[in-house]
């Protein structure tokens, strides 16, 4: 059995004309795990919390605390944006950690001569990360518009107060697209590189040596989820105030 590394996620079967890839399968599994956990916690909610509720409350408090420190202490804003940010975090961390389980990448399916793995880490598929990046950046703009109005949001991009401000506005538009690309490629690059690393190690030295690298991948999976969520929070914080990053520095200097 040789080593097979594919940049694209391989389709396993088709529903009509829609190909279902192995990364889509594992992402659906991650979603089912998260949904099951959510229903289990919901059923056990009580005024006197049990253990599951305690852990869930601890985690949510921690997340709200981190969002507070980014959004300048506004707990109401943190609570308003927690659903999007925490969902992104949970989905990415669940996908990354499920992708480390034995069976992912090793359970194979043979279809007309070609051998493909049945499951693959979802974030190692650019479609998954691009979709999350598009959702995150779209919501950043929606939240910004909801907070300061359409004119306020557009005035960041189309600023006619002077030639330099106009140029900065153009740069802001470009930077929105750069955010989409950087979000998607950061997550994709980290997870795909991890997959390739683990595959090559398992091919070369299957015993003992992959263990520290699995720990590394555990850590990287957590960090990338945290980074995605935290960057989304930072961009939301910037968009609800209504100016770009440059002006923030100027205001800070003025004090």
């Amino acid at each position: 059995m040789g080593l097979a590394i594919s940049l694209r996620a391989e389709p396993i079967f088709s529903i009509g004309s829609f190909p279902v890839t192995n990364s889509l399968l594992l992402s659906v599994l991650a979603f089912l795990v998260l949904a099951a956990f959510a229903f289990a916690v919901r059923r056990r909610l009580a005024m006197v919390p049990g253990m599951v509720q305690n852990v869930a409350e601890l985690v949510i408090e921690g997340a709200l605390g981190i969002m507070d420190s980014v959004l300048n202490g506004d707990r109401r804003a943190s609570e308003k944006y927690l659903p999007l940010v925490f969902t992104i975090f949970l989905f990415i961390i669940c996908s990354n950690w499920l992708g480390l389980l034995p069976g992912v990448g090793s359970l194979i399916v043979t279809q007309n001569g070609m051998v493909t793995p049945l499951l693959r880490s979802p974030a190692s598929d650019l479609n998954f990360t691009l979709a999350l990046a598009l959702i995150a950046v779209t919501f950043v703009n929606i939240f910004g518009t909801a907070a300061i109005g359409l004119k306020g949001r557009l005035s960041v991009f189309f600023n006619f107060h002077g030639p330099i401000d106009f140029f900065v506005g153009i740069l802001e538009i470009i930077s929105e697209f750069a955010k989409i690309i950087s979000f998607s490629f950061r997550l994709f690059g980290n997870v795909f590189a991890g997959e390739v690393l683990l595959a090559i190690l398992a091919y070369l030295v299957p015993y003992v040596i992959p263990v520290p690298f699995l720990f590394l991948e555990l850590f990287v999976g957590f960090i990338q989820a945290l980074i995605f969520a935290m960057l989304t929070t930072v961009f939301i914080g910037m968009s609800i105030v209504g100016h770009g990053a440059g002006e923030e520095g100027a205001h800070a200097n003025a004090h």
Binding site: L7, S69, F185, R186, G189, N190, M230, V234
Partner: protein, 78 residues
């Protein structure tokens, strides 16, 4: 050294990631050291500096990831 397409592809892949990771590695080291300096000077602002430093490190790392993606595309797609 046989300069056929496969060898040049291997060379291009390894050079792309090798040089592409050089800049971000230096940048992350600088950011970390400046952050440590700043916290040493002003321990009260530690959490603000930490947030800023993590953010800057993530952006620098993203550039290394872009280089990695180019290397992967050269190896597997082109």
């Amino acid at each position: 050294m046989l300069l056929d397409a496969e060898s040049v592809r291997l060379l291009a892949t390894s050079l792309a990631i090798a040089f592409g990771a050089l800049g971000p590695a230096l940048a992350i080291g600088w950011i970390g050291s400046k952050a440590a300096d700043a916290i040493g000077r002003n321990p009260e602002a530690a959490s603000k500096i930490q947030t800023m430093a993590i953010l800057a490190i993530v952006f620098a790392e993203a550039v290394a990831i872009y280089a990695l993606v180019v290397a992967l595309i050269v190896k597997f797609v082109a």
